[in-house]
Amino acid sequence: VTLRKRTRNLEWRERTTGAVTYVGDVQLPGMLVGKALRSPHPHAEIRSIDVSAAERLPGVHAVLTSADLPENKYPHEGAFADRYPLARDKVRFIGQEVAIVAAEDERTARAALEAIRVDYHVLPAVTTVDEAMAQGAVRIHERQSGSNLSMRITRSYGDVDAGRAATHASARASFRFNRQTHVCMETNGTVASWHEETGILELWTSTQSPYFVRKEVSAVLDLPRDSVIVRETAVGGGFGAKSKITDHEVLAAALSMRTRRPVRLVLDRAEEFATTKTRHDFRTDLEIGATADGLLTFRDARMVIDNGAYNHSGVSVTGASIGSMVSLYRTMGVAVDAQLIDTNKQPGGQFRGYGGPQVALPVEVLMDELADKLGLDPIDLRIRNAHHDGDVTHAGYELGTANLVECLERVREATDWDTKRAAGGTGRGIGVAVAMHVSGARTYPEANEGNASVAVDALGRATVRFGGSDAGTGQKQMLADIVQAETGVAAGMIEVLMMDTERSPVDLGAFSSRGTMISGHATRAAAQEAARRLRELAAHKLGVEPEQVVLAEGRAHVDKEPDAGITLGDLVASAGLDDDTLEVTETVTVKAEMVNYATGVANLSPAYSFTAHVAEVEVDQRTGKVTVLRYTAAHDSGTILNPTSFDGQVAGGVLMGLGAALGEELVYEGGRLVNPSYLTYGLRRAADAPEIVPIIVERADPEGPYGAKGIGEIGIDPVAPAIVNAVNHAVGVRITELPLTPDKVLTALRPPPSRRAYHLWRRPSRWWIALLRWSYPHGVHAVLHRVGTRFARKAPPVVVPTLHTPETVDEAVATLAATPGAAPLGGGTDLIPLGEQALRRPTAFVDLMAVRQLRTLRREPDGTVVIGGAVTLAELLGSPELAAFPAVEEAVRTIASSQVREMATVAGNLCQEKRCWFYRSGFDCYKRGGATCPCYAVTGDSRYQHAVIDGHRCQAVTPSDLATVLTALDAELEIASRSGSRRLPVASLYSGPGETVLRDGDVVVAVRVPPARGRTTVFRKLQLWEGDFAVASAAVSVHLAPDGTLGAPVVVLGALAPTPYRAHRVERALEGRRLEDAVIARAARAWVPGAHPLERNEWKVEAACGLLETTLEALR
């Protein structure tokens, strides 16, 4: 029997219409909304919690604290368990659950959270591993180590001394793999329903492992294991995030048990980012060596792993990463020292790759450096040291099949490697990296065991029962394919029931790439046994031997006589079976040894997958932006059962890896997450993704079902080093800290000049700002943060705004004047999120989109274009009126998404609030909280969207790209107000970052763009991902004489200063000159003496110079 076919997912109809039931879609009568109150402090003692006011609110059904729950910890990692579902006595990270409520609806639940009073005694916090490891650092837990060291493993494998002695060349560097998060499209969540009369707890939860949920929830809540029943739901992505219980199942269950009503507790997106477990941040110092022939002699790795505030999978990730470090290549000896360090941040956890990506980065980058030193091609060096079939690694991994060499040869050929590799240093580059991965690791005694049942009924239908879940990996389809291939039941007649712990046999779930290897094995065994019995029945009926029976297309027949056979349904119906159903349940145990934490040696997995990846990149040497042109991934995962699923797992893993390599990074300030949103967490959009070419390197592995090995995780493992190596090949810099954002690349390529380049001494007006910035790290920030924020302005109350829909501008103006607290509403794409962010909550909206006059776009006879204030951005694209101003379209195309452009208006874009991630993410900053509060950008992460010119107490910038381009076009606003209408140049619109001189009651009627009169305008923008706000932008408008001389240039820089910045010095450097290289180079830097960057955003000065060069060249 073979499978190897592309099949349509059996649920395609329901999945493509959203008709499958995710947790958020579960409907139960009387269901309440559950929410958690979370710690605002990274480290504090809880002195008392007063829930009485919350309990009294109408519509609130329960408010629970740790005192209401059994005193049981989450049973993660056995003896290392250290976390209660609700904080007891102490909170250890911002976002930790302190209390939970159940209420009639979302609004009531939020109000209840606000009514809970917690008295905290704030403790010093250690939010980085450096702080946590410092002498005398505050201790987060009472560990045996007497410090913040959760665990340390120091081991030597093979013969390291002999390896060092045999070494001819070595390479050494320090690496940092920053925190990445899963960002499942469906956030974590649970519906719990407690049945008091039966003592049964039903759970619908977004999980990869229903049986883990059953085991762990029952343990934490002191319930008999069988009384917890997990039901089937669709699961919207897992990637490891949902492979154990997380932090909502027990809470939803406790609320349901208390209220005796069903409770839904689903995290919102910000909670998902800020409180769920992350990929562990690894800092690795690695040294590797080789003989003159390029045979690896040793690796010496020192790893410091940021555990976060609790042990979840930190201990096992550390163990797994050591296994990878030791096993990746044939090597004489490997020494490792790994320290797992507690910090006051959200904890790390399971994530696709499980330490593999963090290990591949240092090893694979240094392999390239070693290849350079030895004068070898990087692929050749890897081939020389690759494992082969039958090797046993120092960590005890018995590699049955190991096709790494073939993977390398295939990518070499598919990418024309040798030709491209010969042409380095041109801005384009090509790089390779490899990885290996387990196919189902035995990290629990029963983890090498799978169960499945297959039933064929009297209608010829087959039902597979299986206790795992399918978070998008295609496992459901794979099991159906197996049953079809073995039993001959037709494809449309197979149903797969998963997850339900009452109706399906035990399976530990989908993690460690075990789905195909273990569950596939069990299902095959059950299907084969069912097929054997069907053949026996048919043989009896047809009077032949069982071996002569063919099962296909829903029938049993003798070979070459399909018409003479019998349908499977009739066969089963006539067999006199119980319930007229042939049912088989099988258990399969695969060959694997239990993980051994004491020795670090065990053959964990029945088989090991291998891969070689090649990245081709282009580096913009002016801005530091890396673009991936093409990505090729050759995989040895044994026999591929479903090529469609294979392609999807590879492409998805690669893109997730590209995210970590190029943009994804959780950024913290004082332990608080700075970027808990899609807008600030740089994952790749469709336009940022390259063509990804998966290659199957196929050879059956004897241990796998049909010869298959795992594919779910390995695709992410080698991506980051492939990118680092390609960038190095392109531009000659080796960057060892992820992600390779433009700031890091450009800083390596063009280090910022001495700070004397910014002529601060000439600008006395800036001296006090310079003094203030200096004072921040010297105590002022700390005082403002600890003391000043206590006086922060309170968030405006949540209100239900009234909606006014005027028909004319006059009516709109009158309504605004007559309605205190009213705000004009354009597309709402900023105003509505601002309400969610507790920044602006108007009591009334005046809908300007309802005013016809504001929605017109017209060209006046003199060539002036009048754009109504409520014209949408989408309407500007391709409009004939704006044909003379292509720069407007260039700018609009870069803004947000096509959906947002359909909604957002021109006036709304101009008037949008600043995008500073501190301001937007709930920090009590100077602008949000008031004068007693600090600007967090001064000492915090200001790399992207903060000012490098004219920053004042707030370092934010005006985010509007239209502002930049309309300023360059010398556009004017037409404004209506009660006192009449007036004109205002866009250049005079702004008083501060995203702050305008408009008064309450003003309505932007139109933007008037004066005739081009022979002027040419271009716009360019640097953004981190498609649709992001500008890191820097430039608009240049000039009159180009026939001889190429520039007349009356206007140069405006965006996202560099609090307001669009008119670069007069650049204009003077261009005036009357031609666009020669030297002129461009000099002019593009002419504004630099006026800059006053922060320490961390100095690179933006260089990037803006580079961007301006590109913009000026575009005028040629």
């Binding site: 592309r6 349509r8 997912n9 395609w12 999945r15 493509t16 219409t17 959203g18 008709a19 499958v20 995710y22 958020g24 879609d25 499942c184 499209m185 469906e186 956030t187 669709a234 919207g236 992505g237 897992g238 919102d268 997106r269 978070a471 998008g472 295609g474 699923s645 392609d647 999807g648 492409a651 998805g652 893993g653 690669v654 997730m656 949103s677 899609y678 807008l679 994952l683 959009r685 469709a686 336009a687 993704a689 063509e691 990804i692 209100v799 909606l803 999120p833 969610e836 009334a844 909206f845 809908d847 989109m849 947000a896 998404s897 096509s898 959906q899 947002v900 359909e902 909604m903 498609e1026």
Partner: protein, 152 residues
């Protein structure tokens, strides 16, 4: 409000979002909430024929709404869904209804021949599973298919 061609009466206030009204009051739960801030595209619906983020759209301002339930069986919708199934363009499926609605709007307007332009148009719909390769392929194939069956 007209929803999928039917007049539906529903009382809304100035805070109600279209997504919540569709899911919680009209029982149209195909549109998904993944961010609530207009940043990911999982809630995409068509309002007056144009793709918008329903999670930040005020329900009171939407007149003519088409959801995934409405577009699913249209010629474009069906062709695209089948193409998604054949290409493996969904895995977990949570972003898929939004992708399909956005894709149908693109098919009605004309799927760009240029792949970069197609990717640009689809960049408001985040997918965490597929790496986008299959989504792009599905759109291209569905566009070709609808082109072939459309009478000249």
């Amino acid at each position: 409000m007209r929803v999928n061609g039917e007049d539906r009466e529903v009382a809304v206030d100035g805070a109600d979002r279209l997504l919540d009204v569709l899911r919680d009051r009209l029982g149209l739960r195909g549109s998904k909430r993944a961010c609530g801030m207009g940043e990911c595209g999982a809630c995409t619906v068509l309002v007056e024929g144009r793709p918008v983020m329903s999670c930040i759209t005020l329900a009171a301002r939407a007149r003519d709404v088409e959801t995934i339930e409405g577009v699913a069986e249209t010629p474009e919708g069906l062709a695209l869904r089948e193409a998604f199934a054949d290409a493996g363009a969904f895995q977990c499926g949570f972003c898929t209804p939004g992708q399909v609605v956005r894709g149908v709007a693109l098919m009605r307007a004309g799927v760009p021949d240029d792949e970069a332009e197609l990717r640009h148009e689809m960049s408001g719909n985040i997918c965490r599973c597929t790496g986008y390769t299959a989504i792009v392929a599905a759109l291209q194939s569905a566009a070709r298919q609808v082109e072939e069956v459309r009478p000249a």
